[in-house]
């Protein structure tokens, strides 16, 4: 069946694209989590209730805040005062259906799937902060980009989303069509 085709076509990142960067950082291409952009009124309590009921996560309001589910590794990153990104590593999680059903009519909030829109990769190594700083004027010091946070960030000309799961580890999502460029950019640091 055609569905069994490789998850990524050759244009984009495949596991083969993983490896070490010029300065020895470990660059790993990740399978994309299911991603849903959630947009709604930050003060709307109905929305908060729906989120808690369907995905078991309380909405963060501060930019960079990433709220995590206790149970299934899913998370909700604050993208804008009225926008959050729900990231669910388990593509078959029943919570996805629960959430989409609850917001299907877009009367309270808009829920748009963007799973395909981003390519995910991780960059790890002792000097990862310094190396990435060559690509962005966005400060990356722990004070400005704490462990656990996630921000929109420009790497060179590419608008990305970056998470910092650990002090020496960044998870980066770039627009899918820019993935070949983004990988080349990261490989040389």
């Amino acid at each position: 069946m055609l569905r069994s085709a490789r998850p990524w076509s050759a244009f984009g990142p495949s596991a083969a694209a993983s490896g070490r960067t010029a300065s020895g950082l470990i660059l790993t291409v990740l399978e994309a989590p299911r991603a849903f952009l959630l947009q709604g009124d930050p003060d709307d309590h109905r929305l908060a209730e729906i989120l808690w009921r369907t995905i078991g996560i309380r909405r963060g309001l501060a930019m960079g805040e990433v709220q995590r589910s206790e149970t299934d590794g899913s998370r909700l990153a604050t993208m804008a005062p009225d926008a959050w990104l729900y990231l669910q590593p388990n593509p078959a999680s029943p919570r996805i259906a629960a959430l989409t059903d609850a917001l299907a009519d877009a009367s309270i909030a808009a829920l748009i799937e963007q799973t395909e829109a981003r390519s995910w990769m991780s960059l790890a190594g002792a000097h990862v902060e310094r190396a990435l700083a060559g690509l962005t004027s966005r400060p990356l010091t722990p004070a400005r980009f704490p462990v656990g946070a996630g921000y929109a960030i420009a790497l060179g000309p590419v608008h990305c989303l970056a998470e910092r799961p650990g002090m020496t580890l960044f998870r980066i999502a770039c627009p899918t069509s820019y993935a070949p460029y983004a990988l080349a950019m990261l490989r040389r640091i």
Binding site: R3, D105, E116, P139, P180
Partner: protein, 967 residues
């Protein structure tokens, strides 16, 4: 080691000899040498020729102020033009040569220009080469004089080929950034670290210490010799985890938000470097001071050196720059110099006293003697009483000027200080930026240390100094009185550009009284040395010539960078494949395999056509078009911009955005729409599909997606915040394949057997969710070709699989060129072809898209403006060349005659033009004045000198009834 190297001493490693070549001559120096000090050690006295008069020049300095020693380094792709010998650490195998002087710097034919320099005075070129014609030469300036001047001018040779070096960029944020690791800078950095700050310290030299490097006679610091203290302080700072300390790293710019731009060069290799973008809460500029040469007749003779350079030669490089020295200072700080000369066993044959001056020097290519004369009551030298002393070295100092460049280029001010005998910082600039040490006119070691330490207030007490402390006292202007005009032409102010006291006098005589005018007229201070030695002397000479005070004249403005920075370094890593991003669709690899030729659309690569082996473009495109018209074709439409619009007010929002109604759109249906800017001009177009009562899927042009989304967000957030609607880009969520042609339904049926494709179940301009090729798909029944068409959208990662399936089901791939032919045959417009920001929907014949029933929409009011309704506007028409075999040039202009006589009135232009295999003729879409009233008229399409007769007609060439949509 031969030459002038002293038997011992200096900060060089005599166990590490380094060989290099100068003008092909093999020479040797030591690790720790600069190219300049090595040349001096090898008795190379002529290091280049001047720009205009080709005078032989030697090393004036051993530092960043050097105007003379400009070298070409390396050859071919490794070449680097105009590098300063004083700034180049000596490296093994380095091949350097002067940038001027032919055949050599010693014997330069250009030297004849110096035989009678008077006609070549400042600005001479403005006053000649004026006449439009010379006997026999038309346009003499362009054909004769300018080429001649250009071949004489210029300095270094540009490299050839691609730069083999790589450059990088870095960004850091610190509390305190310190520029300069001299005494003041080191004290400032240590003080800042002392109070827990994160510190960045940048030193342009390859060693810390600043003036301590080439100087003796300073006090002991914390009971250590100054240099030992400096090295200790540097080590402490470099070891501190809160500090970033870099050598051979120059702060070349200071920008808004206290952002320093810093260029780091490797201490060992000459070029490849990194630019640091440094953001700091506080910036300490401790860039030191620059010594000023005295201006007197013959002051450019090789052997005339700055006093600090003589000291540095002896103390830092262990080089003996001469045997018999004349000392000519305009201040009292000569102790260190004298000690150095004595240490090097250099005889001081004369010291020019305060009531004396130098009136001339002699010697070709090397100083042989110096004329010294007493000053008369009129303050001018008494030439009759002058004496000539033999000397091969003249150590001169006209005092010191604080290095204010960084302060000035960020908007700082400066003012003349009579007490200090120099211009000093006088406020302005950004908060949190301070000068310290000699840059702050604190010239003595003790004062500099205290200033540097104090300038970052708080923390531990600063370094203690003990012992004598020297500083220039009573320094005046570096301008020696000169008796005769003739001698003023030998007294150089700008060594590199051969600007003399006489030139400044001439500029003053001709009315160039503003310093900026005098500078531009004489080019004083406009050389690659950026006028470090010339700036003050220029102002001083202008003051003298116009009888004004130097403080009233001021100095000419400085512009970044403080020191030259390579293009490649500024460009950084964005070169080659990383220069600009490329966007690819998931089918890209398939297109390549099919022999696609790509076109750039925004950042996208789109397949333009698929050439079978040996197939040219025209037949390929014709073949692809025939496939769509007679069977079925497949086009990759993944690049289309896609925006999800959702929320209770989504329909109301889109109603205001498009010219036609979107609120009446039924769920399951789609509709074509155009967007206008509020000036009434077409901005973008696409298809709007209603997914639910509150949910829409909107497509934009491939190139316009980002701009459209930003623009829609602008309206949503700033104009209509009351509307409850949200926008999200889903461009890369959906890959798409357009399946078009009479067999399109059959092809789709093969992919989605369970989908009812009848016109009743799935009519034109509707969409359905379905499973296609085993993939969950959203299928839009739309047509941009005039044939029955479906756009199958699947999750991006499955684009390739979908493409394979569609082709396997019999569709022929076609590219954007065929797409254009097909849409043009139907008279469909493309934003960017038929629009250029000056075209309204009415001009395009899209009035039917403008809803009269609904209220306001963006651009509606503007459409009523007189010029947008007046007759004579250009309207969309079709053109048929009378000669059916002709395909008009796109961009051809429409005129009324076959034989234009400029200025020939133009009626419009060809926007799109193709060969149509369906019509078996060339055809075009054009915008023509009152075009709709001209149908049937015979006009001419004119391009690059050829006029083709064309017949104006309706823009719909093919299937005007639209029957084929349902074929």
């Amino acid at each position: 080691m031969t030459g002038s190297r002293l038997p011992a001493g200096g900060l060089i490693d005599r166990t590490k000899p380094i060989s290099f070549t100068f003008e092909g001559r093999a020479l040797t120096g030591y690790a720790g040498d600069s190219v300049a000090s090595a040349l001096l050690a090898n008795d190379v006295r002529i290091v280049g020729r001047s720009f205009k008069r080709h005078r032989p020049r030697g090393l004036l300095s051993l530092g960043m102020e050097e105007p003379n020693a400009i070298l070409n380094v390396g050859t071919g792709a490794h070449a680097a033009p105009n590098r300063f010998a004083t700034e180049l650490p000596l490296a093994q195998g380095l091949a350097v040569s002067p940038t001027r002087g032919w055949p050599s710097s010693r014997f330069d034919l250009g030297g004849v220009l110096d035989l009678w320099p008077t006609p070549l005075a400042a600005g001479f070129y403005y006053k000649t080469f004026i006449g439009p014609r010379l006997p026999g030469v038309r346009d003499a300036w362009n054909r004769l004089w300018e080429p001649l001047l250009r071949s004489l001018a210029g300095q270094g040779r540009a490299p050839e080929g691609v730069d083999p070096d790589a450059y990088d960029h870095a960004h850091i944020e610190v509390d305190v950034a310190v520029v300069g690791a001299g005494l003041a800078g080191l004290a400032a950095a240590e003080a800042a670290l002392g109070r827990g700050a994160r510190v960045a310290l940048f030193e342009r030299d390859i060693r810390p210490g600043g003036r301590a490097l080439g100087r003796d006679g300073d006090p002991r610091i914390d009971d250590a010799a100054p240099l030992a203290w400096a090295e200790g302080a540097w080590a402490r700072i470099a070891d501190n985890p809160r500090a970033t300390a870099k050598l051979r790293t120059t702060a070349f710019g200071l920008y808004d938000g206290r952002q320093l731009a810093v260029y780091e060069l490797p201490v060992d290799g000459p070029y490849a470097g990194r630019i640091w973008h440094v953001r700091a809460k506080e910036i300490v500029i401790a860039a030191g001071a620059l010594e000023r040469p005295m201006t007197f007749p013959g002051n450019d003779r090789p052997g005339v050196m700055l006093a600090s350079a003589v000291e540095a030669a002896i103390r830092r490089y262990g080089v003996r720059p001469g045997g018999q020295a004349v000392v000519f200072l305009n201040h009292g700080d000569g102790a260190g110099l004298r000690q150095a000369l004595n240490a090097a066993d250099i005889e001081i044959v004369a010291e020019v006293g305060p009531d004396e001056t130098v009136t001339g020097t002699q010697g070709f290519g090397r100083l042989q003697s110096v004329d010294i004369a007493p000053l008369g009551p009129d303050g001018l030298p008494r030439m009759d009483a002058r004496r000539r002393v033999p000397a091969d070295l003249l150590a001169t100092s006209g005092g010191w000027s604080p290095a204010l460049a960084l302060h000035l280029i960020q908007g700082g001010r400066q003012a003349w200080s009579e007490a200090d005998g120099c211009f000093i910082a006088a406020g302005g600039g950004q908060d949190g930026v301070r000068l310290a040490g000699a840059a702050n006119a604190r010239f003595s070691a003790a004062a500099a240390l205290a200033d540097g330490h104090g300038s970052t207030a708080g923390g531990a007490p600063g370094p203690k100094t003990t012992g004598g402390d020297a500083a220039p006292s009573g320094q005046g202007l570096p301008l020696a009185p000169i008796a005769a005009e003739r001698l003023k032409r030998q007294a150089f102010i700008d060594f590199q550009h051969d600007v003399t006291v006489a030139d400044i006098g001439l500029a003053a005589r001709e009315g160039f009284h503003a310093i900026e005018h005098a500078k531009r007229y004489t080019t004083a201070g406009m050389g690659t040395d950026q006028g470090r030695t010339a700036q003050l002397a220029t102002a001083a000479a202008l003051a003298a010539a116009t009888g004004r005070e130097i403080g009233d004249i001021g100095l000419s403005g400085l512009r970044p960078p403080v020191t030259p920075v390579p293009f490649g370094a500024l460009g950084g890593w964005r070169r080659g494949a990383l220069f600009a991003p490329v966007r690819q669709t998931p089918m890209h690899r398939r297109h390549e395999a099919l022999g696609a030729v790509f076109e750039d659309v925004g950042d996208w690569k789109r397949a333009r056509y698929y050439a079978a082996p040996g197939e040219a473009m025209a037949p390929a495109v014709a073949r692809e078009c025939r496939a769509v018209r007679t069977a079925v074709g497949a086009l990759d439409v993944s690049t289309l911009g896609k925006i999800a619009v959702a929320g209770p007010d989504a329909a109301a929002f889109l109603n205001r955005v498009y010219t036609n109604r979107m609120d009446t759109l039924a769920v399951g249906a789609c509709r074509y729409g155009v967007m206008l800017k509020d000036d009434g001009m077409v901005f973008d177009d696409g298809v709007v599909a209603r997914l639910g009562p509150n949910r829409f899927h909107v497509t934009t042009t491939s190139g316009g997606a980002a701009a459209v989304l930003n623009w829609l967000e602008d309206w949503r957030q700033t104009e209509w915040p009351d509307l409850k609607v949200w926008l999200a880009s889903v461009t890369e969520q959906w890959a798409g394949v357009a399946v078009a042609g009479p067999n399109a339904a059959r092809t789709l049926a093969a992919l989605a057997p369970e989908l009812d494709l009848s016109d009743t179940a799935f009519p034109h301009l509707t969409w359905r969710d379905a499973t296609a090729a085993g993939l969950s798909a959203r299928i839009f029944r739309v047509s941009f070709s005039g044939e029955r068409g479906y756009e199958i959208n699947v999750p991006w990662r499955h684009g390739e699989a979908l493409w394979d399936a569609v082709l396997a089901a019999g569709a022929i791939p076609y590219g954007t060129e065929a797409m254009h032919v097909l849409r043009a045959e139907k008279g469909f417009i493309v934003v960017g072809h038929e629009t250029d920001g000056t075209v309204t929907p009415v001009d395009l014949g899209l009035s039917w898209l403008i809803s009269a029933k609904k209220g306001d929409f963006i651009g509606k009011r503007a459409l009523a403006r007189p010029a947008l309704t007046a007759p004579g506007r250009k309207q969309l028409v079709g053109l048929e060349p009378e000669d059916a075999s002709v395909v008009l040039d796109e961009g051809a202009q429409i005129i009324a005659t076959a034989t234009p006589r400029p200025p020939e009135p133009m009626l419009g232009h060809v926007a799109s033009s193709y060969w149509s295999s369906a019509l078996n003729r060339g055809f075009a879409l054009a915008l023509v004045k009152d075009g709709r009233a001209r149908h049937g008229e015979r006009l001419f399409a004119w391009s690059l000198g050829v006029a083709h007769a064309v017949r104006v007609r309706d823009p719909v060439f093919y299937d005007p009834k639209g029957a084929r949509l349902h074929a």
